[in-house]
Symmetry: C2
Subunit: 328 residues, 2 copies
DNA sequence: CTGAAAGCGCTTACAG
DNA sequence: CTGAAAGCGCTTACAG
């Protein structure tokens, strides 16, 4: 059932049907009523593909992220999807695994589908999306990065000041009298580096020893746990641990509890993301809230303005806050 | 840059360009080489919309779920997305919130976009998708349900035997000598009811008291905690608790630990989903593994067969397993 | 207020 | 092996 069938049944031209469909142009009340009745009784739905053919838009945006199973990405992607849905867009989800080749594949695919915009969720993308090949794909379509930066004329970013976030955590521990503070770093993205820098700066500012106080871990619960176990095995008992992720913080907490240490009395722990993971911990993890919902909402607003009014916007930086739990 | 531009530059017809693009029909080696060179040097990408116009397919599927932030849905949706991506499809993500009106909106949208298939993730959809209005939207496109059932000729389902899963948990506790076992039920979906039935049946089978042993809770950590706190406040100390979700189980565990009870020595706890939540708990939660990745993979295989070969498949039921942790 | 016609960018029989 | 033409289902100037 297409617009021709409707036109025939209503005894009008397809142009008229199109007009009532889109409430555009002028149609006499009588004609409109007749066409609408036929539309209804045939349960007609216009083809978005045919419409896209002429408008060059399918009202679809692509969200590329590393892995939707990571709660922080899920929260961000969720809000992005909901906000775009309210605005009449569908969202294509892409799990790139942080892999360059996969990212390229996805960008090619959504480029062929002529998405109206792209949002890149995660700090990895500012490194991954370098190079002429990538830039070609990211050009000619509005792009916005959540927690990343890209030097392209059509790319905007919404970031959280990760460095400040970690420094908040350190200052918090210092205010509670902690001096022997360690940091667990879990990745090598720009964001992970800023966090580490925030740690180092805050430690220096407070005149605390920080040499060898940055521990490298993987992005898993087990790795957080093992890292702290290794530290304890060396005979080092910190009085504070700051982590770049709640997941590693939960692992750290596990290691401490299993070693019979009391948290926060003997060792305080602070995580990052203020996720469900933090709330699940017993005691509940103190964590840096980096506001993924706000980031997501701003991303959508920037992208929508870019798409619909092709306006130029500046990028936005949000300040994180400390969410007090019971581990500090 | 469209196919006409390429044709002109290569001095051939658009039909020939289309042939080399699709490796269809026959093209002389010389012509092919010339066209390919021009394609490359212009960085040409065919419009998926125009292709969709003729093929009536955008090679896109829609995944409707309640809320991608729920880890179990995230794991399912992740695998679905990855598997479809490998097969050359993009995935549209829809967070319906379990709401009927929203589900309808999403179905209308993806219907207009003529998606090639729909996967419904979650037990809510078998109740939500009842009614003529819904069925009209779900007709004419292959549909597959993960953890749900729908009585439509074109709808298949992959389910996990939830009832059996919970009975596994009960038998496990009984085998460890537990007798005063409670169940925490957190929703009212068909799946939640099967789980409860699994509890009741297993208790009956073992000759254990089960009247008033089903506690109603919300789908949150706090609610799981409060439910157990209320039970303890009544002076009841169970020796085993089975939960319909890891999240409520984590809450239950929290309540027990805070009440100074030892887990599993005094009270054993079993969750459901074998999620990261379970692993985060200290001690690590024993949990029923309901294999979301397997479910997702089967969904994709069923849907793909339906789409590409329009074959009829029967639905699949998977058996869950118990994942032994430290709380039992 | 309404219709005929062109155009969006492809694919696919059909001729040759 | 190659090209002319029709068709996919719409929207949009342009006439009238």
């Amino acid at each position: 059932m297409n617009i021709y069938d409707i036109a025939k049944e209503a005894g009008v031209s397809i142009a008229t049907v199109s007009r009532v469909l889109n409430n555009k142009g002028t149609v006499s009340a009588a004609t409109r009523a007749r066409v609408e009745a036929i539309l209804k009784q045939n349960n007609y739905t216009p083809s978005a593909i045919a419409r896209g053919m002429v408008s060059k838009s399918m009202r679809t945006v692509a969200v590329l992220t590393v892995d939707i199973r990571v709660p922080h990405y899920a929260r961000t992607a969720y809000t992005i999807e909901r906000e775009f849905s309210r605005r009449g867009y569908e969202v294509i989800l892409c799990n790139t695994g942080g892999d360059r080749a996969e990212t390229l594949r996805y960008l090619q695919a959504v480029n062929q589908k002529q998405v109206d915009g792209i949002v890149l969720v995660g700090s990895v993308f500012d490194t991954i999306c370098q190079g002429a090949e990538m830039e070609k794909l990211l050009t000619g379509v509005p792009v916005v990065l959540a927690n990343g930066k890209l030097d392209l004329p059509n790319a905007y970013s919404v970031t959280v000041d990760d460095k400040y976030g970690v420094s908040l955590a350190v200052e918090h521990l210092v205010a509670r009298g902690r001096k022997n503070i360690y940091y667990i770093k879990d990745r090598d993205t720009d964001s992970a580096k800023s966090k580490r820098d925030g740690f180092l700066e805050a430690m220096r500012r407070n005149g605390l020893e920080f040499a060898d106080h940055v521990l490298e871990a993987g992005e898993t619960l087990a790795s957080g746990m093992e890292t702290v176990q290794a530290l304890l095995a060396q005979g080092v008992v910190p009085d504070g641990i700051v982590c770049g992720e709640d997941l590693t913080a939960a692992g750290a907490l596990k290691a401490l509890l299993r070693a019979g240490l009391r948290v926060p009395e003997q060792v305080a722990v602070v995580g990052f993301n203020n996720s469900d993971y933090a709330h699940l911990c017993e005691p509940v993890l103190t964590s840096v809230d980096n506001k993924p919902e706000q980031v997501a909402l701003l991303c959508v607003q920037l992208l929508e303005s870019s798409i619909e009014r092709s306006e130029a916007y500046s990028s936005v930086v949000l300040q994180p806050e400390l969410a007090q739990g019971e581990t500090s």
